[in-house]
C-alpha cells in the first residue's frame, strides 16, 4: 500500500447561508494514496467541491482533521498555506479561470512569479508546460483567442508548471465538448501514469470517471463508499 497523501478524519464543514444552516460535509473519513487518480462523484450539492476546496486549503473545515502531503492544514496560517499551495497543489477549474489580459504563456508563468526563478527560467518552464498540453504553438494567444478546450489545456499547464505532487480538478470537462473533454482527460491520465501525479477529480460524468483508478461517492455531505 502506497503512503496516504490525503487523510481526513471526521471532516465537517458547516456554514450559514441566508439564515439557513447548511451541513456541506459531515464526518468524512477519506484516505487517498500517492499516485492515485480519484474521481469524486455525487449529485449537485453533495459536497464534492467543498471537499476539494478543503483538500486545497482554499477553505477551512469547521470540524475534524485534514492532512495533505504530511501537513496538518489547520496548523498553517494564511501565508504558509499560500506558499504550500503554490508548491504542492495544482488546481483546475470548470470555468478555466484564466486572466483575460494575459497571454497563454503569461497565464502559465503566473504561479512561477512566486518562486525564485529568473525570468528566462520562468519562460522556459511555462513553455515546456504548454508544449506538454499540446499548445506549443499558442504561447502568445490571449484566452479570448483560444477555444474552450485550449483554454482548459492552458489552465492545466498553469496547474502543473510548478511541478506539484497533487492535482485537483473541479469538473474539468463540465464546459467542454466531447472531443475537448477527451483531450483533457487524456492529459490528466498521462499526468497520473507517466508523471506520477496524484489526481483528485470532481465530476458528474460517469464517462470521465472511468479515467480514474478509484471512485468515491458523496451523498448529502457523507461518503457512501
Amino acid at each position: 500500500m502506497s503512503e496516504a497523501i490525503i487523510q481526513t478524519t471526521k471532516l465537517t464543514k458547516e456554514f450559514i447561508r441566508d439564515e439557513f444552516h447548511v451541513v456541506a460535509l459531515k464526518d468524512v473519513n477519506l484516505e487517498i494514496a500517492k499516485g492515485e487518480f480519484v474521481a469524486l462523484m455525487g449529485p449537485s450539492g453533495s459536497g464534492k467541491s467543498t471537499l476539494l476546496h478543503l483538500i486545497a486549503a482554499m477553505d477551512r473545515p469547521t470540524g475534524g482533521e485534514i492532512r495533505v502531503l504530511g501537513h496538518a492544514l489547520r496548523e498553517l496560517n494564511d501565508r504558509q498555506i499560500a506558499h504550500w499551495r503554490n508548491e504542492n497543489v495544482g488546481f483546475i477549474f470548470q470555468q478555466f479561470n484564466l486572466i483575460p489580459v494575459l497571454s497563454a504563456l503569461e497565464n502559465v508563468e503566473l504561479p512561477l512569479k512566486l518562486t525564485n526563478l529568473r525570468k528566462s527560467e520562468r519562460i522556459e518552464h511555462a513553455t515546456t508546460a504548454l508544449k506538454l498540453v499540446g499548445l506549443g504553438d499558442r504561447l502568445h494567444h490571449l484566452p479570448r483567442q483560444l477555444s474552450g478546450g485550449q483554454e482548459q489545456r492552458v489552465a492545466m499547464a498553469r496547474a502543473i508548471v510548478t511541478d506539484p505532487s497533487l492535482i485537483l480538478a473541479d469538473e474539468p470537462t463540465g464546459n467542454l465538448d466531447a472531443t475537448s473533454a477527451l483531450e483533457v482527460l487524456t492529459i490528466l491520465g498521462r499526468l497520473n501514469k507517466e508523471f506520477g501525479k496524484t489526481v483528485v477529480m470532481v465530476t458528474h460524468d460517469p464517462h470521465a470517471a472511468q479515467f480514474a483508478t478509484k471512485m468515491h461517492h458523496l451523498e448529502k455531505g457523507e461518503l457512501t463508499n
Binding site: 476546496h53 486545497a56 482554499m58 477553505d59 494564511d78 501565508r79 499560500a82 506558499h83 499551495r85 503554490n86 508548491e87 488546481f91 477549474f93 479561470n97 486572466i99 483575460p100 489580459v101 494575459l102 503569461e106 503566473l110 504561479p111 512569479k113 512566486l114 498553469r158 510548478t162
Partner: protein
Amino acid sequence: MFRYLPLILKNCWRNRRRTVLTIASIGISMCLLGVMVAMFHAFFLSDPTPEQALRLVARNRISFTVSMPLSYRAQIKQVTGVRVVMVSQWFGGVYKDARDPKNQFPRYGIEPDKFFTIFSELHMPEDQKKAFERDRAGCVVGRDLAKTFGFKVGDRLNMTGDIFPGNYEFTIRGIFDSPRNSDEMYFDYEYLEQTMPERRRGNVIMYDILIDNPANSARIATAIDDQFRNSTAQTKTESEQAFVVGFLALLGNVKMFLVAISGAVLFTILLVSANTMAMSVRERAREVGILKTLGFTPASILIMILGEACAISMAGGIIGYLISTLLMQGVAKSPFGGFLPAIHVFDPSVALVCVLAAGIIGVMSSLVPALNASRTTIVEALRSTD
C-alpha cells in the same frame, strides 16, 4: 513588487477608456494643484535672486497709494549701507484704447542714471542708456513689450495721464532685455514732475533702494523706518519680494486662498479615484480568488491593487505637473507675471509635491478595496461572479 509590474500595468490598461478618463481627471486636478503650489512657492517660499536680495522698497506705511515727500530720498541715502536710492512713480495713464487689455502694461517714472545700477539684471546697450539719460522725454521699453507692439528705438509713444493729468509724448530711446517678463515701460520721473502743477510736485509713491549687503537688509529697513517714525508720512521698508506679496495681499488672504483651493481639489479627486478603484476591484473579485488559488498571499494581492492605483494616479500626476509647467510659463510671460515674484517654471519641489500627492491619492483611494480583496476568502471570491 517589480515582479508583479507587468501584471499591474496590464491590469491598468484593462479598461482603457476608464483608465484614460481617470488619468485625465487626476491630471487636470494635479495641474491645478501644480499651479497653486508653484504660486505658493513663488510667493512664500522662494529665495530672492542675488539682484533682488540687494534691493529694498520704501513706501508710505499707510498704503502704497499714499505718497511720501521727495525729500526722503536724500535722508534715506544717508543711512549706512544704502548705496543708491531711486524714485519709482507708478504712472498709470492710458495708451490708445484702454479697453484693450494688451494696452494695460505697467509704466513707471524713474531716474535714468540710477535705474540700470539698481536693476542690474536688465541689460541695454550703453549708447541707448546714454540717449535715455540725455532725453527727459525719453523712455525705455522691455523686449517683450517691444515685440507685442512692434516698437523700435526712435518711435514715438503718446499717453494720456489719469493719475497725472495731461498728454505725454515719449520717444523710445532704448529696448532692454530682462530674465523675466519685460512688458514694462520706464521714463524719466523728472518729465512727470515738470508737467505737474506746483502743489502736486515733490511727492513720490515709492523708493527703490540698493544696499551694500543682503545680510544688512533687515537692519537698513529698520533704520530707514526709524528715521521717519515721528513724521506725518511714516515709511514701510521691506524686501522687494515682501513688497510684491504685500501687493498681492490686496486681493485678500492669498495664502489661505491657495491652500483652500488645493485642499478642495485633492479631496474631490480622492473621492473620484476611490469610486473608480472600488469599481475596478469589484469587477475582478473572481480573479483575486484565482490568484490566491495559485499561491498569491493576501499581502501580494494588496500590493498589486495598490500598485495599480498608484500607477494610474502617478501617471495623472506627472501629466498634470507637465501641463502646470506650461501654464506657469504662460503666467510668468504674461503682463501679470511682471507683478509676481520670480516664478521658476520647473521647480523640483513642486514636481515632488504633485507626484507625491498623486501617489498618496492612489494609495488612499484604493486602500479599502485592496484590503477587502486581500481579506476575502478564495471560496467567497470565486463565488462572487458565479
